[in-house]
């Protein structure tokens, strides 16, 4: 089983050898020899994009860095990485240095961290060409050319700027221009659009694709966002626990997935087009050195049979793809079930529970919110959507009292709220609960889960110790965590489990209103699905009113009844979710919805007009 994608059988492809050929790549911890990545083989042809997808901890970034023959400290690489027939892993340090940047280029996740803030853009671009003499005959012409291709102004004015004088999207274009400057054979893109807004993301993706095509560059695109990858690449490799579990043409892998993990992952991706029940994948991926004997996915797999936990599966070839599952042929016959539609819930009317009128907020002198009106009705969920910088988090913080520099009127159950939490009554603080964005910082690492959950009960109620204990146990059950979590510390929990603890902490005091601020943005997609389901179930069971803040338009469908679109501090559109998403009126909403990638449109990233920024 030397190669997962062995296309030597195809006479057409044999004529053109692949630019990048990875064989039996294995990366292990130097200390213990535990396998981090194993048995990874794939090939990428000229002008082809391969997507490498997987959740955090799957080893996708480790593989991406290995393609530059680089491993983080404490990791050893073995196997073969051949670029145009040359094995990178056998090169000496000097030869490798010449190769990096010239023949293999890397685009990092965060351009603001990758560009030197003290050097002008022009200097940094020229530097890339200068250290690789021969890459371009005329450096200045090449720079103009490459800037034009990455849809940036090539005027001397832009070249004189410093990185902080560019927007996030422009910075990422500069990083891409730099990577393409020497006309490399291979370009490795490590989540290059993760920090960008959907619109910017779409333009950047289109740029990458057209540049790969026009220069015959082989590209490996690493991402956790399946919808983005689906629209961009022709081949996709799904990674789990350091191994490729399914690899093949994108339409096949995403259109009719076979491996149970791929199926689970796709079922977790929310769709902006339909209101569906999201299903996540319970459990956690194994850590290196603690992988089960058989298939690494078996403990979480609903298709698993006895043999799965005994024998390591080998890749099975089905059509154009390879699936690392011993039941692949059985599963292929079982149809890939589409998710259940959500029961339609009408948006509530009548008396609102929370009412905002003319709310204006500012940080220092900078105004963030302008005249925001908002109504949240009992027992219904209102989603507040907007890009970064739209003021949605500030709005949430005004409601809960974390941000007190605001004017206007916020009334809760008919009575006005004081601006800051310190000036609000205990009863009000109890009725409105807030869930933070990042579960890694919202739980005190020095307290057990039991302590974290019983604290609010001690503070707000006068229960006996027995009563507190039973309530804490009950709320843990409610968020699908068992009572064995009571004595654990937050650092023993995964991100999804932490966020569920945070949810439990909020609902244990039986509030009327739950304010959720981007609660899934730090989580993997399969965990996001589980978390959203827990929230949706709790909201309907406990008849909670909820404010759900998100930048992810697709997610809104699966949880909210009412949608509010926020743009630069102004509410531009309000209405029932279906109406806002299907018949948007405001041009901003229209653009926002068009730019959201959707898995249903695999391989169909629409061509965009040349950008004018």
């Amino acid at each position: 089983m030397s190669s997962l994608v062995d296309r030597s059988a195809d006479p057409l492809v044999e004529a053109v050898p692949a630019r990048l050929e990875v064989k039996n790549l294995r990366i292990q911890l130097s200390s213990t020899g535990a396998e981090v990545v194993g048995d990874v083989s794939f090939s990428v042809h000229a002008a082809e994009l391969l997507g490498l997808v997987g959740e955090s901890g799957s080893g996708k970034t480790t593989v991406a860095l290995a393609l530059l023959a680089h491993a983080r400290r404490g990791l050893d690489i073995s196997g073969e990485i051949c670029l145009d027939g040359e094995n990178l892993l056998e090169l000496k340090a000097g030869a490798l240095r010449e190769l990096r940047g010239a023949k293999v280029a890397y685009v990092p996740q965060d351009p603001s961290a990758a560009l030197d803030p003290t050097l002008r853009i022009g200097f940094q671009l020229r530097e890339a060409l200068r250290v690789h003499p021969g890459a371009a005959e005329e450096i200045e012409t090449r720079i103009t050319e490459v800037l034009r291709e990455s849809k940036l102004d090539s005027t001397p004015e832009v070249l004189r700027r410093y990185p902080h004088q560019l927007s996030g999207g422009q910075q990422q274009r500069v990083a891409i221009a730099m990577a393409f400057a020497c006309r490399p054979s291979l370009i490795v893109l490590d989540e290059p659009t993760t920090g960008l807004d959907v619109s910017t993301q779409r333009h950047v993706l289109e740029t990458v694709r057209s540049m790969c095509r026009s220069y015959g560059v082989a590209a490996v695109y690493v991402s956790h966002d399946l919808a983005v990858v689906g629209g961009l690449v022709s081949q996709v490799a799904v990674m789990y626990a350091g191994r490729v579990v399914e690899i093949g043409p994108t339409e096949q892998v995403f259109g009719a997935p076979i491996h149970p993990y791929t199926r689970g992952l796709l079922a977790a991706v929310p769709s902006p087009k339909r209101a569906e029940v999201l299903t996540g994948i319970e459990g956690q991926p194994p850590r290196p050195g603690r992988k089960p004997k058989g298939c690494a996915f078996a403990p979480r797999c609903s298709y698993a049979i006895g043999n799965c936990s005994v024998e390591r599966p080998v890749p099975v070839s089905i059509g154009d793809r390879y699936v690392r599952c011993m039941r692949a042929r059985d599963i292929e016959k079982e149809s890939y079930t589409v998710r259940a539609a959500l029961p339609a819930a009408a948006a509530e009317t009548g008396d609102s529970l929370l009412k905002l009128r003319g709310v204006q907020a500012a940080y220092g002198r900078q105004r963030i919110l302008y005249d925001v009106d908002l109504d949240v009705y009992p027992e219904s969920c209102t989603a507040i959507v907007g890009e970064s910088g739209s003021g949605k988090t500030t709005l949430a913080r005004c409601i809960v009292g974390l941000h007190s520099n605001w004017t206007g009127e916020i009334t809760f159950k008919g009575s006005p709220l004081a601006s800051g939490a310190r000036r609000r009554q205990k009863e009000v603080l109890k009725r409105i609960q807030y869930i933070f964005q990042n579960p890694y910082t919202s739980l005190n690492p020095r307290k057990t889960i039991g302590q974290i959950l019983s604290e609010p009960l001690e503070h707000f109620f006068r229960f006996s110790a027995d009563e507190r204990r039973s309530r804490v146990n009950r709320v843990l059950e409610d968020v699908s965590l068992g009572s064995d979590f009571l004595t654990r510390y937050p650092n023993q929990l995964s991100g999804g489990e932490r966020q569920r603890v945070a949810i439990a902490r909020a609902i244990v005091v039986e509030p009327d209103l739950l304010v959720c601020d981007e609660v899934t943005s730090a989580l993997d997609v399969s965990v996001q699905a589980l978390t959203v389901e827990v929230l949706r179930r709790l909201q309907s069971e406990r008849r909670l009113a909820m404010v759900f803040i998100t930048h992810n338009l697709a997610l809104v469908r699966s949880i909210a009844q009412t949608a509010v679109v926020l743009c630069e501090g102004h509410v531009v559109e309000v209405g029932p979710v279906e109406q806002v998403l299907e018949h948007p009126k405001d041009p901003y909403t229209v653009r926002l919805i068009e730019d959201v990638p959707d898995l249903a449109e695999v391989g169909s990233l629409p061509e965009v007009a040349p950008s004018t920024n």
Binding site: L29, V36, S56, G57, S58, G59, K60, T61, T62, R72, G74, T194, G242, R287, P288, S388, V400, G401, L402, A421, R424, L429, K430, Q433, F436, Q437, N438, Y440, T441, S442, L443, N444, P445, R446, T448, G450, Q451, L453, S454, E455, P456, H459, F460, A465, R468, R469, G482, S483, D484, L486, T487, R488, Y489, N491, G495, R505, S521, A522, D524, H551
Partner: protein
């Protein structure tokens, strides 16, 4: 809190020990921590059991002054003909206890001031930190000398004086650490419950300062020892004839050529102690930081955090 101490019996959670037991266990397993503990521990052992095993009375002359080592007096005798070994064994525990007390006192005051300044901000912050600046302008030893020379050498006063000189520096360091903790979401979440600031500082912020607290305590402990020995050397320690490592150095240095051990042994013990304490507390700090992260996971893929 009650929930934690008596978990429901039905489930079988992984046995959870108190966090600090894990912490100390992990510290001893590090090379740094084991080395520090071995060095400092041996000196502490000498000081602790010394008074009980001393062969002679530390205050009585047993032979002629500055006698060299002999089978009878292993480290020879001092300026008044007292047995050096007995004085060394008997004179350590007082120094250690005083240094410990001064450290606890100084770190306590400094931490209280630093954390309050960081969490309460505003005028409280300004007042505390400007006061700290004023005190930092005095050289530590001069400040302690000043206090002791006014009131006279009393044990409690030396402890308070040395401890007090530590407080400003401790406050500075802990303020900066506490500033960052104060902005964390779990602190905000408790604030949203309307909990009193004093309780937030005690139960949310303080437990997360273990790492800087340990480093500071170790550092201040060694400073305390050096300052106490220094005060004794300058004659501001306990009045003679009480045995004290610091004062031994001062009173016996005139006989350095006759019996070097009367000076060298206290010097070596103080040096080994101060050298040992630092790697030990440093190891605690490192392990405390490490416990909060999951190193094997961080090595594989960074957690995705979107904007």
């Amino acid at each position: 809190m009650d929930v934690v101490t008596s978990p429901p019996a039905a489930v079988s959670p992984p046995r959870v020990r108190r966090q600090w037991v894990d912490l100390l266990g992990a510290v001893i397993r590090t090379r740094r921590g084991a080395l520090g503990l071995a060095l400092a521990g041996s000196v502490v052992l000498v000081a602790a059991i010394g008074p009980f095993v001393a062969p002679y009375s530390p205050d009585q002359s047993v032979t002629f002054p500055f006698a060299g080592p002999s089978s009878q007096y292993l480290l020879g005798s001092d300026m008044l003909g007292r047995d050096v070994l007995s004085r060394v064994l008997a004179g350590g525990w007082e120094l250690l206890l005083m240094a410990l007390a001064a450290t606890v006192f100084g770190v306590f005051i400094g931490a209280a001031a630093g954390i309050s300044a960081a969490y309460l901000r505003g005028r409280v912050d300004g007042f505390i930190m400007r006061t700290v600046d004023v005190f930092l302008a005095f050289p530590q030893l001069v400040f302690a000398l000043l206090l002791v020379s006014i009131v006279g050498p009393k044990i409690w006063l030396i402890v308070v004086a040395v401890g007090f000189t530590h407080a400003p520096a401790v406050a500075r360091v802990l303020r900066s650490s506490a500033l960052e903790i104060s902005e964390r979401d779990y602190v905000k979440s408790i604030e949203l419950q309307g909990v009193r600031p004093a309780k937030i500082m005690r139960s949310e912020i303080l437990p997360n300062l273990v790492s800087p607290l340990m480093v500071e305590s170790g550092l201040r402990f060694t400073y305390s020892i050096v300052m106490m020995a220094g005060l004794a050397f300058l004659g501001f320690g306990l009045p003679p004839p009480a045995p004290s490592w610091g004062y031994m150095i001062q009173e016996n240095r005139i006989g350095l050529s006759l019996n070097v051990w009367a000076v060298a042994v206290p010097v070596i013990l103080i040096a080994v102690l101060t050298i040992g304490v630092n790697p030990f507390t440093d190891a605690i700090a490192r392990v405390a930081i490490g416990l909060d992260s999951r190193p094997d996971e961080a090595l594989i893929d960074d957690t995705v955090v979107e904007a």
